[in-house]
Amino acid sequence: MAMEKMSLAKALNESLRKALETDPKVLIMGEDVGKLGGVFRITDGLQKDFGEDRVIDTPLAESGIVGTAIGLALRGYRPVVEIQFDGFVFPAYDQIVTQLAKMHARSLGKIKLPVVVRIPYGGGIGAVEHHSESPEALFAHVAGLKVVSPSNASDAYWMMQQAVQSDDPIIFFEPKRRYWDKGELDTESIPGPLHKAAVAREGSDLTLAAYGPMVKVCLEAAAAAQEEGKSLEVLDLRSMSPIDFDAVQTSVEKTGRLVVVHEAPVFYGSGAEIAARITERCFYHLEAPVLRVGGYHVPYPPARLEDEYLPGLDRVLDAVDRSLAY
């Protein structure tokens, strides 16, 4: 296939289709993933083409979904499970943290659990409570899990391919407000390893590090800053566990300034970890303290206030200005 333009949602759909075609052990499981194709239609048409035995509508019980996926993985299957919304994952949190993350180590490496847990996450779609959260740090903190989030259609396609092939459990956060954003996708050329960051825009004055839905905001911020004569580099981290600190270090050694941006609350967020590591690694390169832009330490607000809560272009540029003022 040559280059094709498609939405991030469609890219995920194509990637799951490809995974089902390639490996008969791949299963799709979740609530409403069958006939409906999922509430975001990510699995649209897959049950029709691969059958109810492989694209499985489950009872509405998240712990049950992940727990049975673990059992299926023990039997040799490679389940890709969908949690319908970010805020619905917590009934499954025990199975994910206590079992999925630890069984490989518990078995001294004898058991492998190639399970992908897909979670549409983040705000910006005017949803009711529990439909806009960014809980990635709660998973990144747990050894045994790997946590990734694509920001564009091409990464959505390829990172899903790589996640399905991984022998480690992957928590796959999908930026739901970017589902309908279109991007170029080449289904024949792998962009790079799953856990490597990518430079989304080159720059020399300051590094913006982000992932998932915030990459677009950072790119817009960099474009706006350019008009003011500031050259911002945008790093798309892609993976929150492990984090490609080498890529961040390389960028910061060039720019001397770092602002980390995510929707998740700043407190104990991935920005804190990046700030600490980069301060250790790049202490003498830093011209300013590492700054963070993210959600506040409050429950996710009602939709009419989410634009105040979510980092937007102006809040990112405000942090950029503060960093450059040092």
Partner: protein, 382 residues
């Protein structure tokens, strides 16, 4: 909300159901029994069993050796060789009966107390002790004996068993899966979800609950208002209560449930009504919460004594058999003792070995840091 709960509480306080619930045994149906506590064979209309002398002696041997192993492990904990032990004392019939009903290709998901089932699966008993000594979190390969690692968080494994059974069905195999859990775990949401999933997908799984009457210090009244096995009906599959101290009944009932699963008829809940004769674990002190009389009453229903009585009455085992078994028990105890005492601590760098199957740069970095830190002592000549 407040009005509702008040209304719900009122009649319960005054009704006779409250007192009935406090003494569940009084109003409950008979359990399946094939061997009485006195060692008399009785028949049951639904569960026939016909075992040879060899098979009966085999079950007896399994129970005796399991109990001996268990006692050795308790002793090793008292001697400081193990950090903890969860004794199965009193539950030998439930475990050996169900364990011997399994085929090699069946798959077992145990809790942390299934030492007798492990024995039936051919897992070397000393392999069970690594996690209790603290040298690993599970020292056997689950696929060698189709015996999954012990699961400590209660109830979680019922979902794994269900998923595994869904996989068995997808593969078109006629194997069955058995999930062990306890009366305490039956209150966990995961168990209810496992019942739902297994029923919906008609998964070939047997839920084997050893109701040993106590969840650490909490009696069954704190877990349930109806007999446990009756729950299955609400999920759409059969439940049966079996005398958990009767190895023959446990064998017959489990066999029947496994056959049902193999025939594609879906899950069964078996409630093995038994008693935890010892403490929950070696960290526990049951004298704080239960009466000696209760234990004494269950002692009279001992699973091993009743089979011995039957073997002797039927002339199926002579003194030489029992003497030889006693010697075998002592040999086992000695071997367990020696193996445990010789069990080495793992290399300190092993901490980093299996966090990830595909590796992780973060773990690699931390391993290197830790190794360098350790090496710094050698350089300093310490």
């Amino acid at each position: 909300m407040t009005v509702e709960s008040t209304a719900a509480r009122k009649p319960r306080r005054s009704s006779k159901r409250t007192s009935a619930a406090k003494t569940p045994q009084s109003s409950e149906p008979q359990l399946v029994q094939l061997l009485t506590p006195e060692g008399e064979r009785v028949e049951h209309p639904d569960y026939a069993i016909d075992l040879s002398g060899d098979e009966l002696r085999g079950l007896y041997r399994d129970m005796v050796l399991t109990r001996r192993f268990d006692a050795e492990a308790t002793a090793l904990q008292r001697q400081g060789e193990l950090g903890l032990w969860a004794s199965l004392l009193g539950q030998e019939a439930a475990q050996i009966g169900s364990g011997r009903a399994l085929r090699d290709d069946d798959y077992v998901f145990p809790t942390y107390r299934e030492h007798g089932v492990a024995w039936c699966r051919g897992v070397d008993p000393t392999n069970l002790l690594g996690m209790f000594r603290g040298v690993n979190h599970g020292g056997w390969d689950p696929t060698t004996n189709n015996f999954h690692l012990y699961t400590i968080v209660i109830g979680s494994q019922t979902l794994h068993a269900t998923g595994y059974a869904m996989g068995v069905a997808k593969d078109g195999a006629d194997s069955a899966v058995i999930a062990y859990f306890g009366d305490g775990a039956s209150s966990q949401g995961d168990v209810a979800e496992a019942f739902t999933f297994s029923a919906v997908y008609n998964a070939p799984v047997v839920f084997f609950c050893q109701n040993n009457q106590w969840a650490i210090s909490e009696p069954t009244e704190k877990q349930m208002r109806v007999p446990l096995y009756q729950r299955a009906q609400g999920f759409g599959f059969p439940g049966v209560r079996v005398d958990g101290n009767d190895v023959l009944a446990c064998l017959a009932v489990t066999r029947s449930a496994l056959e049902r699963a193999r025939r594609g008829e879906g899950p069964t809940l078996v409630e093995a009504f038994t008693y935890r004769m010892g403490a929950h674990t070696t960290s526990d002190d049951p004298t704080k919460y239960r009466a000696d009389e209760e234990r004494a009453a269950w002692e009279a229903k001992d699973p091993i004594l009743r089979l011995r009585a039957y073997l002797e009455k039927q002339g199926l085992a002579d003194a030489a058999f029992f003497t030889a078994l006693e010697e075998e028990s002592e040999t086992l105890g000695k071997r367990v003792r020696e193996v445990v005492r010789a069990m080495p601590d793992p290399d300190r760098l092993a901490i980093f070995d299996h966090a990830y199957a595909d590796g992780s740069p973060l773990v690699d970095e931390e391993r290197a840091q830790f190794a360098a830190y350790q090496a710094s002592f050698a350089e300093e000549g310490n």
